[in-house]
């Protein structure tokens, strides 16, 4: 299967601190890739480089950022504008051929049609995140990046979010998400990228990660992962 996105040797420094060390990987259509790792591992930096928000110090990407959908961790929305107005603004800025059709499609896809005229500032956190994701999907991107998409959601909203992501992936969109929650990676990712201190320690399926991590005498997978990282000096 041809790669939808390839990263080669992505490196990033913040002053003397190394945030990413020559990260390389390739993604294929319909994959759900979970980027996992402790705080400061480089997850947000990696997603920001893939999204075109940050420029890497070295390395390259196979696809321009404008062809990639991006959903930042904090909803990037204008709270004084309505749901439809936010979608329309970004559809126009993305210079979509038919902005109104794109808005209507995203309202329907995210089940926000009933809330189209409501100001975003009055929406719940879950609905705001849906609008946030809808904006990321406006250009019907082949690759969608989500930075900790479930961080501010309650369990019910989280469940709905993962259903939505599963649907996107079933339609062929490559979804890349970062998370602190190892259980989410186990449940929803088809592939895992394990980062620590800017280094890509592992890439493979959740099952392969479980094997790689091993037993280590720990009670659950999260504890095993912590032991795995400790053993490698992270």
């Amino acid at each position: 299967m041809p790669a939808t996105l390839e990263a080669h040797g992505l490196t990033k420094h913040y002053g003397s601190q190394v945030a990413l060390r020559a990260i390389s990987f390739a993604l294929v259509s319909g994959e759900r890739v979970g980027i996992v790792g402790p705080n400061g591992a480089g997850k947000t930096t990696l997603l920001s480089i893939l999204a075109g928000v940050l420029a890497p110090d070295a390395g390259r990407l196979s696809r321009p950022a404008t062809e990639i959908g991006w959903v930042p961790q904090q909803p990037a929305l204008y709270s004084k504008l309505s749901v439809a107005e936010n979608l329309r603004l970004f559809a126009r800025l993305e210079k979509l051929a038919d902005p109104e059709a794109a808005v209507a499609r995203m309202l329907e896809q995210t089940a926000l049609s009933q809330r189209a005229d409501e100001q975003v500032g009055r929406l719940s956190g879950g609905n705001r995140q849906r609008v946030n994701i809808a904006i990321g999907l406006l250009g019907a991107p082949t690759v969608l990046l989500l930075d900790e998409p479930s961080a501010s959601l309650d369990p019910r909203q989280r469940e709905r979010l993962w259903e939505f992501i599963a649907m996107l992936s079933a339609q062929g969109t490559t979804v890349v998400f970062s998370t602190h929650n190892v259980a989410e990676v186990e449940r929803y990712a088809t592939r895992v990228l394990l980062l620590a201190d800017g280094e890509l320690l592992f890439t493979g399926t959740p099952a392969e990660l479980e094997v790689a991590v091993g037993d280590g005498g720990a009670r659950d997978f999260e504890a095993k992962l912590v032991s795995f990282l400790h053993a490698r000096g992270h």
């Binding site: 075109g52 928000v53 950022a65 990037a76 929305l77 504008l81 970004f90 904006i135």
Partner: protein, 451 residues
């Protein structure tokens, strides 16, 4: 950029308090300035206790009488006088706040003046009582009362001089003197000299009276010469110097137009700086910056959009304000294109300063606070007269006034309002340079936005 403008206008429309303030504030300021400039200055309320008995306000000078009480009337006409009947009542009136000051004329003031004029003894005085706790108000009232008393003093002096000059003229040339109900003919020095000279001419050559009469004629010549000089000299004592001003800077802006320009520029600054800083900081507060600059809008265009929108709003608001002020103050409407140009360029410079503040502060409330903290001192510094301070402080103030757009905007707009020197060209170039400099600073500061 069009869609960003539409979006910002939608946001402003949905912020009625902010938008209302942006419109109402300059209008209210304009009306206040207009009324203040068009209203005549108020007369200070002064309690007045005149202890001089009626009919005893005159002093005798030579053969004439001067009514000192007449000048008290002049003092009363220039203040809002509250007549009181005792010193205690005068003090109570000031203490209660009914009057800002009290003036007490002692009963023997005419005698004091008489003594000074005729014998050179004494120092006539009136009593002024003040009770203001506010130092500025105290200074204003003190200056107002003192200035009016000085006017009265000068009027009395002039009248006394007129009487003295008339008496001198009679000594010199003679005339009629009315005293004790009788008219007396006064010979005068010139006539006396003529009589002596005639007598001298009729005497024989060897007369022993000749040397004595010649001495009298010489003395009379010297006295006539001296007194002839003294009369005009005394006449000029009241106003010894006339001041003729020459403005090297050409015609200056009329005070009213200058005050109007200051009010307009203060509003231009607040609307331009606050709006631009708030609009830019809002982009980050809403987390939208990173989403916008990943290929949708360049940081430079984002800044340009905020500057343009803020400058247009500030220009429109201050044009309305200037139009309202012109109802009260004479502004040159034939220079309207220059009004628009000066306000527009000034607004661009202020908006560029605003986006720099917004980029540094990165948060709406912090940006608004910082904008206020910077704008107010900048305005004060720019309004300090050039020679009010000296040395290093003057240099510092000059530099601050130069690197912020207030002073240049004021120069451009006051010229636009009245067409007086200095011209608007140099300030406009200065403002464009400042706009460019602040734009570059804002672009550099935006690097922190993505973090």
């Amino acid at each position: 950029m069009r869609w960003l403008l539409v979006k910002d206008l939608q946001i402003l429309r949905r912020s009625p308090l902010l938008t209302g303030l942006l419109v109402v504030y300059p209008v209210v300021i304009a009306l206040m300035i207009g009324f203040a400039l068009s209203s005549p200055p108020g007369k200070p309320r002064v309690a007045f206790f005149d202890q001089v008995p009626r009919g005893h306000g005159t002093i005798a000078l030579g053969g004439q009488r001067v009514n000192v009480g007449h000048y008290a009337g002049a003092l009363l006409s220039s203040v809002s006088a509250i007549r009181v009947s005792s010193r205690a009542q005068a003090i109570a009136t000031v203490r209660s706040g009914q009057a800002l000051a009290a003036v007490i004329i002692p009963a023997d003031l005419p005698q004091q003046i008489q003594s000074l004029v005729t014998q050179g003894i004494g120092s006539p005085s009136v009593e002024v009582i003040l009770n203001s706790r506010d130092p500025i108000e105290r200074q204003v009232v003190d200056q107002a009362i003192t200035a009016r008393l000085n006017q009265v003093e000068q009027s009395v002096s002039k009248q006394l001089l007129r009487v003295a000059i008339a008496d001198l003229q009679q000594v010199l040339s003679g005339g009629q003197v009315h005293a004790l109900g009788q008219t007396v003919h006064l010979l005068g020095l010139r006539n006396a000299r003529a009589i002596v000279a005639g007598t001298l001419a009729g005497l024989p050559r060897g007369s022993p009276l000749r040397p004595a009469l010649s001495q009298v004629i010489s003395f009379a010549d010297l006295a006539i010469q001296g007194l002839s000089f003294a009369s005009p000299a005394l006449g000029t004592i009241g106003t010894p110097l006339a001041v003729h001003q020459i403005q090297l800077a050409g015609a200056t802006t009329p005070t009213d137009a200058y005050a109007a320009a200051i009010a307009v520029i203060v509003s231009l600054m607040f609307v331009g700086v606050l709006l631009a800083s708030g609009l830019l900081a809002l982009v980050r507060s809403e987390n939208a910056y990173a989403r916008l600059v990943r290929g949708l809008v360049s940081p430079g265009r984002l800044l340009a959009e905020k500057i343009a929108l803020s400058a247009v709003c500030a220009t429109l608001v201050t044009l309305v304000m200037a139009a309202l002020v012109s109802l009260f103050v004479s502004l040159d409407w034939s220079r309207l294109p220059l009004w628009v140009l000066s306000l527009g360029v000034g607004a661009i410079a202020f908006a560029a300063l605003g986006v720099t503040i917004g980029a540094v502060a990165r948060e709406v409330s912090a940006a608004s606070l910082l904008a206020f903290l910077i704008a107010l001192p900048v305005a004060f510094v720019a309004l300090v007269p050039a020679n009010a301070v000296s040395g290093g402080l003057k240099t510092v103030l000059d530099v601050i006034a130069f690197v912020f757009p207030f002073k240049a905007s004021l120069q451009a707009v006051s010229n636009a309002f009245s067409g007086t020197a200095p011209g608007a060209g140099l300030p406009l170039v200065h403002l464009l340079a400042l706009a460019l400099a602040f734009g570059i600073l804002a672009r550099v500061a935006l690097v922190r936005f993505a973090r």
